[in-house]
């Protein structure tokens, strides 16, 4: 028995011809928006894009693979601090932090710093979560909440590197509309292709019924770890982009509230759906901005 739904294969094949056209129109739209929007609305658009990246990457674990994680705030923190440490001005690092010389002098180009941010987030996620994969249901949720609290606690207490609860200031404003939506579209494309491949069928099967999937010969531990790796990589990238937009990060800006907002985007738009994640991100970003003055 094949684990795929055949109609979705055809659906994707027909759509592929138009994908380039749609992308072209989309980028023209982005170009118009980036030139016409004023500072405040431009910023909201960027926040929306970052939220799309975060929601989509949370969707891989909490949606398709059905491993409900609350730890993505800690992964964002790992990504954000990594990119901040790699790109902060040398004077700030020399005056307020006491870093090893190579890190103090480091001025990494943006593209490498966000990739490194993703890799660090991936390593953090794996080291903490691999033991937790033995747990089921609520116990796993609890353990994943642990990542969040552990990372915030470390960031608050390792003062020489993270500047404690005050956080890091003055990250260069590298983030712009092209980076964010480029990565978002790449992520959408990646999830789209992965879902129709063996990987996607496997994690969807695991998400529906893990016991049954294992009985069909799916190595659930392996695919769950892969799903978690992809998800934490892009969460780290999202955290890095966010850092270069907000410019000031502190441990408390990655607390449970942030994870809760992303989970709301996921649930409102509809779990296990790409368009749902985008819609949910749009709705919650808008609501949060409207409620801001209250």
């Amino acid at each position: 028995m094949k684990l795929t739904e055949n109609h979705s294969d055809n659906f994707f094949k027909n759509r592929k011809k138009y994908t380039l056209v749609i992308l072209f129109i989309f980028f023209i739209l982005l170009f118009i928006l980036s030139n016409s929007l004023s500072g405040y609305y431009y910023r909201i658009l960027l926040l929306f894009g970052i939220n799309v990246i975060l929601t989509l990457s949370l969707n891989i674990t909490n949606g398709y693979a059905n491993i409900f994680s609350l730890g993505h705030g800690g992964l964002m923190l790992a990504g954000g601090y990594t990119t901040a440490l790699l790109t902060l001005p040398v004077e700030f690092k020399a005056n307020t932090l006491s870093l090893p010389l190579w890190l103090e002098q480091a001025q990494v180009p943006f593209i490498f710093s966000i990739i490194l941010a993703g890799i660090v987030a991936m390593i953090v996620g794996l080291t903490i979560l691999l033991p937790a994969f033995r747990l089921k249901g609520h116990y796993f949720i609890l353990a994943s909440l642990g990542i969040n609290i552990i990372m915030i606690n470390i960031a608050e207490n390792v003062r020489p590197i993270t500047n404690g609860a005050t956080g890091l200031r003055g990250a260069p404003p590298y983030t712009n509309i092209w980076w964010i939506f480029g990565i978002a579209i790449f992520l959408i494309y990646l999830i789209w292709t992965l879902l129709t491949a063996r990987f996607g069928r496997a994690i969807k099967a695991i998400g529906k019924d893990q016991g049954l999937a294992e009985a069909m010969g799916v190595n659930s531990a392996k695919y769950k770890a892969y799903a978690f790796m992809i998800s934490s990589f892009f969460t780290g990238v999202g955290g890095a982009l966010w850092t270069h937009l907000i410019l000031t990060i502190s441990p408390s800006s990655f607390d449970l509230l942030v994870v809760f907002q992303i989970i709301m985007m996921l649930v409102i738009g509809g779990v296990s759906s790409i368009s749902g994640s985008i819609l949910g991100a749009a709705i919650i970003t808008a609501i949060l901005e409207i409620l801001q003055p209250l």
């Binding site: 409900f68 903490i128 747990l135």
Partner: protein
């Protein structure tokens, strides 16, 4: 680092252990009957502490009456939570329940920040609790002793109650298997409400103890103790009252010893201890240290 020092630290930790034990007992009972992590339990704890603080400073009541008022307020909060947050979403899946409880917790906390501001407020301590005793070189505060004795008595009464009375047996039945319990003629809704009443009352006692011990209350105070309490409940085996209480004490004492043995630079790492313990224990024994009273699928 002699034996006296260690013993002194253990004694100092008894009150923290007692609070975690009380919270863990409430958590374990509610998780048992409802199958959900009641994140808002930390907020119920905070409501108890705030009510007692306000009853003492604002209305000028003595501490025992303030404690009773705190219990009433917390029980009210717990029952309202059950009625308006958890009952409507019952049976609609883990994630929905989970988000509801998280939302309830954040909502109540934000409401209190709006009403009282996010800074700490002083919790007055009556004179008759301020005494200290010496036992050789070891110093014991009266408050520590009272909180500890009070907690032990409450836990013993409660485990007797759960083991032997009709209501207690019904609670265990519902937490072990709800459908069968209902088929035996147990009204599971009222059992759930009763569980919330007991759990919230214990949280209120813990909240007042927290206020007395640390001298201040603030809206975010319930977050870390609440999560530590749930971890204690997990380690004690869900549904196991004495297991939860013992793990609560272990975590409280362990946290304090963890900090006592590290250089003071690392004292901020105290919350990490419970997580390290959780990961180690769950890795080797995913069902907790003690026997649990729920059905494992």
């Amino acid at each position: 680092m002699d034996l006296t020092y260690i013993f002194q630290q253990v004694l100092n930790a008894l009150s923290l252990g007692s609070m975690l034990a009380l919270l863990a007992v409430g958590y374990t009972m509610i998780y048992g009957v409802l199958g959900l992590i009641n994140f808002a339990h930390g907020e119920v704890f905070m409501i108890g502490a705030f009510t007692a603080m306000y009853a003492i400073t604002g209305l000028g009541f003595p501490l025992p009456i303030a404690l009773i008022l705190a219990i009433i307020a917390s029980v009210l909060a717990g029952v309202l939570l059950e009625r308006f947050c958890y009952r409507p979403v019952q049976g609609s899946g883990d994630i929905t329940l989970f988000i509801t409880s998280l939302a309830a917790s954040i909502g109540i906390r934000s409401l209190f920040v709006m009403l009282f501001g996010s800074r700490s407020m002083q919790f007055p301590m009556p004179k008759y609790l301020q005494g200290i005793r010496f036992w050789g070189d070891i110093l014991i505060t009266d408050l520590n002793l009272i909180i500890f004795v009070f907690t032990v008595i409450i836990t013993l009464i409660l485990s007797f109650f759960i083991k032997n009375t009709k209501l207690g047996i019904a609670m265990r039945g519902v937490s072990y298997n709800k459908q069968t319990a209902e088929a035996m003629g147990i009204n599971s809704t009222s059992i759930i409400v009763a569980t919330f009443v007991i759990g919230s009352a214990l949280a209120a006692v813990a909240g007042v103890a927290w206020g007395l011990q640390y001298g201040n209350v603030r809206p975010a105070m319930g977050y870390h103790p609440g999560i530590s309490g749930f971890i204690a409940a997990v380690l004690g085996g869900i549904g196991n009252i004495s297991g939860a209480a013992i793990s609560g004490f272990l975590l409280g004492v362990g946290q304090v010893l963890f900090v006592a043995f590290l250089p003071s630079v690392y004292s901020g790492f105290r919350p990490l201890f419970v997580w390290i313990v959780l990961f180690i224990i769950l890795f080797y024994k995913p069902t907790g240290l003690f026997r649990s009273n729920i059905k494992w699928e």
